[in-house]
Amino acid sequence: MRTLQGIAVSPGVAIGEALIVDNEGFRIPRRFVMRDAVDDELERLDHAIDAVAAEIETNRDAVSNRLGEQYGAIFSAHVQMLRDPSLYREIVGLIRTKHYSPEYAVSRTLRQFAKVFEELDSDYLAERVHDIFDIERSLLAKLLGERREELSHVTSPVVVLAHNLTPSETASLDSRFVLGFVTEIGGAGGHTAIVAKGMEIPAVVGMGQFLTDVSGGDLLIVDGDHGRVVLQPDEETIARYRHEAEEHRSLAVRLEELRDLPAETTDGQHIQLNANIEFPREAKVCLDRGADGIGLYRTEFLYLGATSEPTEEDHYNAYAEVIRKMDGRPVVIRTLDLGADKLGQLPQDEQNPFLGLRSIRLSLRNLPLFRTQLRAIARASALGTVKVMFPLISTLADLRQAKMVVADMLEDLEEAGVEFDRDMAVGMMVEVPAAVTMLDRFLKEVDFISIGTNDLIQYALAVDRSNNEVADRYQASDPAVLRLIDQSLTGAREAGVPASVCGQMGGEPAYIMLLLGLGLRSASVPPSAVPEIKKICRSVSIPQCEEIAGRAMAMDSAREIDTYLREELRKVAPELAPS
């Protein structure tokens, strides 16, 4: 048993078999074979070994002829490894006595050798580790043959392990069969994190290199609460985690009782509690969790999942599905919030993509793309309560220009006799410190604001949260961040403009009391966090929150504030406080 530490990005516990996703495609684990199939399976193994050996020998001959014998010798060593008698004995033994599938036995045995070589810590053996993985890849390719499938075709529950998952890979997953995600790279704000949260699947990212220690089909535990992954867990550990998963479920059941109750404080203040979504199908999850509406509909997946630029109809169909589902409840649609690099539209490499051509800047630079999306949003507005929101507004000129594009577009629709909501609200994300500083001016020109804490923290503290060297400086509770939020909420209240928070911070039980104390009356959180946040709202009074906020704002450091907020949370809702 080995426990590895990564970054916890989506809560919950998953126990299941590993599916390793690599560059070669997707390896479907089939861990066991039927007892009476063992002989057939051994024959399959022999065929695979012969076929791979024949391939290597063909390569050897070709290379020897072209470059000389000594180069061909490299391949001879490969064949020697492939036909290694102790390797063969080991694999056959696992198939015969444990009824492992040849795929699993091959992967398991070779990876054990690789592990020993890695531990010997010698340079020349490190090269041999590559040889071993090469052989594993070749053998699996032969063994799996036709059965190597696409991730979207997974048909039994697995824990997906990968170096990194692209947004489209993540999006193509069938959530019924994915128990959990673990990736080697990635951070708290990455797409895997966001999607996993949206799908309510436990996930740990930023593990560092660990895939060489796992075989497809290995049993493992993903602890999405603490960012841990347990490889080859022992019985006792499995039992403990199963118990924990059970507790989780029973807490979820208790919280479910709150579904149809409003998020109302003990002194009667109503809190508008919305949810953030990424995919249309998540609208149902929002309703199941008892959200009042959708406070952030991210539209990036329309661009990332597709091979060509989405058409107006693509946009419209996705929005219409969500709006119909929400049946009159508000839906805030955020326009494209991606970097140019993600769209393959980059004139040259950007040194600092987060300070580069992205989000609203990209939309304003590419008006046809922006108009297409806006037209679809406006048409969809006829179906319910739709609000449009611009990300990354940093100057008044950005906002005015974007609003002008909207006005032009609406005029066109009007002329064409297309139906739309004439009162469709137009708002902006507040996520750049410059926008906070100038907020009084912005507030005169928008119908609402939503504070995007993820980016606000990053820009205010000058910290890239995906950079492990400085990620610990990324603190939602940094006093500077709290002051920016306080200023924004105060400004909006004075101007009579509705304000919300839609970053991860609003979905953290420890922060919600503080935010209510600072004057927040509307939050948009991951659907999975709705019940918890509602529970806290229903357990506190506004004066109580104001006192907590007052104390926290007088403190000097994020650490001090976090400790204090955890204590307060424990008093109010001990079952939700982190252990």
Binding site: A73, A77, Q80, M81, D84, S86, F117, L120, L125
Partner: protein, 94 residues
């Protein structure tokens, strides 16, 4: 183990090429741990560096022949030490 870099991939490969020619079982033993002398992977896991004591054990029809041939190869350092000695010489003279 005479080789300056121990029993690494190339000498191990040569060793297995040799042991595979014999019918007898051959074991290579380090600190009481015996591995199959015809298994390159097992031999590499010994991590046998220069100066390490290895014991060879052969059982079977052609065991004597095998041990004789192996002894010779170990003594010659699998044809590697000669090259290195020459290299060092040419470096000092250059």
């Amino acid at each position: 183990m005479n080789n300056s870099q121990g029993l690494h991939a190339r000498p191990a490969h040569a060793l297995v090429n040799l042991t595979s020619q014999y019918d007898c079982d051959i074991e290579i033993i380090r600190d009481g741990e015996a591995v199959d002398g015809k298994s390159i992977l097992a031999i590499l896991t010994l991590g046998a560096e220069q100066g390490i004591q290895l014991t060879l054990r052969a059982t079977g029809r052609d065991a004597d022949d095998a041990l004789e041939a192996l002894e010779e190869q170990f003594a010659k350092g699998f044809g590697e030490n000669g090259d290195e000695a020459q290299e060092q010489e040419s470096q000092t003279s250059g």
